[in-house]
Symmetry: C2
Subunit: 117 residues, 2 copies
């Protein structure tokens, strides 16, 4: 079956670093295709393709403006990722808490050792 299509899912669409870059750039406001291509140091066709993927999964919107097309971020499209990853928030906090507790324990031992000297 091979890997899922990049357009099958927001997760797959966002797996590509350049597409994440595009979203970051668009968070500053609308941009034209050439604009984005220049910033990404990518040729125009690739920029168009990436934008096409992002559009198919609903992460960006397009608007015609004369002979250029302005792409805008659709922030809501990222919510599924946020919601999913948020369900694990407690998990990594717990790991950090354990690390924190461990470090505190080390420091305590250190103080005790110093005291014994």
């Amino acid at each position: 079956m091979a890997r899922l299509a990049t357009t099958s899912d927001v997760f797959n669409a966002v797996a590509e670093p350049r597409r994440r870059q595009i979203l970051t750039l668009l968070s500053g406001g609308e941009r034209s295709v050439n604009d984005l291509a220049r910033q990404l140091r990518v040729r125009q066709p690739q920029a168009s393709k990436h934008l096409g993927v992002l559009r198919q999964v609903g992460l960006v919107r397009v608007r015609g403006a004369g002979q250029q097309r302005l792409y805008a971020l659709n922030g809501q499209g990222l919510k599924p990722i946020h919601d999913w990853v948020k369900t694990f928030e407690r998990q990594w906090n717990e790991s950090l808490d354990r690390l924190d507790a461990y470090l505190k324990e080390l420091q305590k031992k250190e103080r005790d050792d110093v005291r014994k000297r």
Copy 2:
């Protein structure tokens, strides 16, 4: 160059739905490979492969327990995704706010219309 390796990145590793399922299952605690394979309704080798990917990107830890290997979630591995998507939180809140304002505006109009009747 083709698509990036699934092991190149947490984003790529998590793009596969079954791997997300695995992480969800592991958030309930350690599981053996067969255990996971059964829950995912996947054959054992595929489960092992997926777990291998997750391990390579640091999303899970393994621990030998007799003749089985228990996999555990490493929540901190998901933090990069959380951090990235969090930078867009304002974006979709704004969209939602606009939607909210729009709906409120509609309701107001509706009330006014009723009043006029």
